[in-house]
Subunit: 327 residues, 2 copies
């Protein structure tokens, strides 16, 4: 059986209230008493029962974080940024993984609500406005990463993907690579669609027709999917001279497959990724990519969640990181 505050009180010869004070407002307790109680706590290895605490207080000191895919370095980096900020603020994080499934996302939300978290940070998959609105009415701050749900009162932190796509495309254009392919996923996440939109617009603005833009979509956004995309492009006949991938993982799989087939990067094809994950800089051909301030994203999300702001939307600027794969 777990030792309770009562047992500590008994052994220290004080009341439960005093033990509670030692735990929560030590300055109210006389030095001698405090030391004695602390010694007993230490001796017994007492750990406060958080269930009772948050039941009593009505709110815990934990935030829920729902991540779409734990295997994707992009998400894990955002998560780390969030956790760091959160710990700094004396909070703890409860992680959940939605695995991109709306069903699992619902389960995660239920779980977090049951746990009585005092805020939720998430990368939404198929979140409906009603559910968010309900959370908001309950006084739960909800911060969405990289997506907005209009009219639900939730905050969001996002990167300007249109700008990011534009950045990537303008770089390809500056290298004279205007016969481009866009490697994406189907269904295409909103953020990726925005990147593509920004890219196409830049192409058009530079006076090039976007008719010739190849669109390759795979089922996922993994290295494996990138490899499949590369195979498809190779089979297609003539290769484009520039490729913009939906994310770095895909770019890595694609670059590897192209390299294996004797395609020279960037000479034959310039490749641009998105995210600037750790692996990007150590790829066979170090990857030119669009950097998203991921840790920062997590940090700001945490701040919004902790301040319980309403309807605040922060947009961060992406940055082009030029490496060998497109230079």
């Amino acid at each position: 059986m777990r030792t309770s505050i009562r047992e500590v009180a008994r052994r220290a010869g004080v009341s439960v209230g005093t033990v509670s004070n030692v735990l929560n407002r030590p300055d109210l307790v006389a030095d001698a008493t405090r030391d004695r109680v602390k010694a007993v706590i230490e001796e017994l290895g007492f750990v406060r029962n958080e269930a009772a605490r948050s039941l009593r207080q009505g709110a815990g000191r934990t935030l829920g974080v729902i991540v779409e895919d734990i295997a994707n370095p992009y998400f894990t980096d955002v998560a780390r940024g969030a956790e760091a900020a959160l710990n700094a603020g004396g909070f703890d994080a409860i992680w959940c993984t939605s695995d991109g499934s709306p069903e699992k996302e619902r389960r995660c939300l239920d779980f977090l609500e049951e746990q009585g978290v005092s805020g939720i940070i998430m990368t939404p998959v198929a979140l409906d406005a009603a559910r968010v609105a309900r959370l908001r009415t309950r006084g739960l701050p909800v911060v969405l990463i990289d997506r907005r749900i209009p009219g639900a009162g939730a905050c969001s932190v996002a990167v300007d993907h249109v700008a990011g796509g534009s950045l990537a495309m303008r770089h390809l254009i500056s290298l004279g690579r205007t016969r481009v392919a866009f490697v994406s996923a189907e269904p295409e996440p909103p953020s990726v669609r925005q990147r593509r939109g920004g890219a196409l617009r830049s192409l058009a603005r530079a006076g090039y027709s976007s008719d010739s833009v190849l669109y390759v979509a795979e089922a996922e956004m993994t290295a494996n999917a990138g490899q499949l995309a590369a195979r498809r492009l190779l089979d297609h006949g003539t290769l484009p001279n520039g490729i913009f991938c939906a994310n770095d993982l895909m770019a890595i799989g694609l670059v590897n497959e192209l390299t294996r087939n004797g395609v020279k990067i960037p000479q034959d094809v310039a490749v641009v990724g998105y995210d600037d994950i750790d692996l990007a800089s150590t790829a066979v051909v170090p990857l030119t990519t669009v950097s998203q301030p991921r840790r920062e994203l997590g940090r700001i999300a945490t701040e919004l969640a902790l301040t319980d702001a309403d309807n605040r939307h922060v947009v961060l600027g992406p940055e082009l990181v030029v490496r060998e794969s497109a230079s």
Copy 2:
């Protein structure tokens, strides 16, 4: 304010006990009543307060999982395996990340204990036997992944790393690659030391001197560290003709760097990794590696945790996956 069971009871015109029964033992409740209560629950979006529930019941239906490094695909795969099994058993997981820091590990344990989890699965960093023993006395099952702590009563699930290292080395030997380097980390995790031990023994058994085995250690076990190791080997003068890396991430960074420098893999150097992460098969040179049944590892850990076994130790067998990098 969160709606409570009382509010549901009031609106449905029943007592709180009945609502509780609808939630937990629906068969005890008359059909009509049950439907009415369920309708109200739906309408109000009622979510059970888990704090109160587990306070009352003394134990929750959640397990704590402490992962060393959320960015390492090895751990995330184990975690996924664990979560799947756990959900199947009607449990939920609370994740924590120790980031390889003993200090943070302690915090995670405190947090999980406070949360009242009914078991802990972890990849220990610097866990002391006393702490584990205390958890065990409290009736908390503790399952360690890939490490044992003698005499604390905790269970463990591990892969036979000596066998794994041996597998890798014997394969290199069969390819005639006996001038080998071992790429590791400093400090060297026990599991990696075992792999190296197995490898060296196989070398000796095959009648080769292990004097010439190069030992390269970096600070981490990341792709970046692998790249640094490759640089070191390149600077060293003559390259070995076989390299065994402590894990796939290092192997990937190393293979990339070697490839960039015109080293042909496997012709000039054969490379073997460890883990068989997703990226291994799509690497520029698809990676020969030792596969650990990671999901399985997670699954078994969960089972041990849920059955509250004592001192049970499961050892799984690794498997050699031959791909181009050593063939």
